[in-house]
């Protein structure tokens, strides 16, 4: 299945999807490991590292852009970020961290993608392929 969206940050990636159905705050993750440490979080205990993170939008502290940038430098960041609507904090973090990011899809990525799905994407074209 193919989804078409708009580029936030160009780049190609493929990896395993990690879907979070709540608006996501990057400050809820430990930047050293990429693991979501916030108690009671919808994806508590999951690691963002190397995943294709799928979120409705980003939220939380305005320090979030630096959190993402730090994770990108350490290697604990998601491989790519797919959002229904990119918020400025997350978009800035993706730009800084060179993380391919797409938003504004023709369909709803939250419904189309499940955690564990294999994803291939080209953010310049805004194309996301769900392989399984």
């Amino acid at each position: 299945m193919i989804l078409k969206g708009k580029k936030v940050k160009e780049g190609r990636a493929e990896g395993e999807a990690l879907v979070c159905h709540e608006d996501f705050s990057f400050s809820s993750a430990d930047s050293k490991t990429g693991i979501v440490i916030e108690k009671g979080h919808a994806i508590e205990g999951q690691s963002l590292a190397g995943k294709v993170l799928v979120i409705p939008t980003g939220t939380g502290s305005t320090g979030g852009s630096y959190s993402i940038y730090e994770m990108a430098k350490i290697g604990s960041a998601p491989k790519a970020i797919l959002a229904e609507k990119a918020d400025e904090i997350t978009a800035t973090g993706a730009i800084m961290g060179n993380i391919p990011m797409i938003h504004g899809f023709d369909g709803n990525p939250m419904e189309a993608i499940k955690t564990g799905d294999r994803i291939e994407l080209d953010a310049e074209e805004g194309i996301v392929e769900i392989k399984s």
Binding site: T57, S61, Y66
Partner: protein
Amino acid sequence: MILTKEEEGMLEGKFGDGVQKAMNILVSLGEIYGAERMAKVGSAHLPGAGVTSAKDAGISFVEEMYEGGARFKTWTTLNVCAVDFVNWKKIGISEEIVKRQLKLTELFRKMGAAPIHTCTPYFGLTQLRMNEHVAWGDSGALLLANSVFGARTNREGGPSALASAITGRAPVFGLHLEENRYGNFSIEVNTQLNSLADFSALGLCVGELVNKGVPVFTNLSTEISFDELMALTTLPAGGTIALFHILGVTPEARTSESIFSKGKPENEIVIGDKDIAKTFEELNTGNSDPDLIVLGCPHASIQQIIYFSQLLEGKKVNTNTRLWIFTSIAVKSIADKIGCTAIIEKAGALIITDTCPIQLTDDFYENENIHCITTDAASMPHYMAGYHGKLGLKSHFGSAEKCIKAAISGKWEEA
């Protein structure tokens, strides 16, 4: 985007690497969000000014910008950092963090900012006017800039606020545009709001119910105080809220016809006693004596400090606990002058500047053996759970009066 000749020059590197990098970030954001042009900003407020928020990557980024010749082109203030430069040793902040923070603060100072860190730059540092384009970070500060002052800013992250500070520009999209500033939720409050803690709880509760949008409070008293408006900075702790209106109070909300884009709200929320009671309950997870009591989130106004000093005069903070009042050094200098600081310190409490509990490290809390945060700010437990999730801190929440009573008795009295 249509750029001016000067802005094109910035993008082409005519003003150095740092400016080019900064303009690149802003143009990228502008293109994502369909901005037609850049606006000149009257001020910038930088989140991630503390070493714990910026982290190594952020610190390197600021260094890179500085080395690339970037200097602040607009009036720029710094958000809270990891350190109280005067009292750090007294409260147990590590020398290593102080050294790192001094380096970062010095970079900002050389770029043109005053080396003062606060989430309340509107006290003594920056004046805002209605419709002024600014680039502010810190969820609470930008909320008030938009809502109470009628200025225009998006929710700026560290790098984008820094880019705006360096270029003096922000891409015109989102809340820079009037069409995005209308209210879409009406909030009717049918409960008594007696203390600032009640307003603080109201903000968190409404933020959670709205989740995303522009709430309009329709029946709050038009005699609401500035401190009460500040207490509503808990809205973005509950949801993604960058702008709120209060009918007859905030500058853009003169009438309900004019503030809702269709003349009426898309959603209606009514807040009653039960909602506020539930919020209080959720914030009171602590079951031990208060070990750290914090007031001044956001950084306390001088009016609040005067009130705290009245409650503390002639009293003593219990030796089993700590009472810290957070504020900006600008406000503290007023507190010093009028004698409040002396009263507060005589009682055994501390006025802490430039930092906040969120910016302190996990190590700090572990070394100091702190298990619970006692506060009158409804957003504090939420942010602590995110930033300091590993610690599993509990919380006590109540009015400043109750917090100060607890500081004196060493016990948290259940209502």
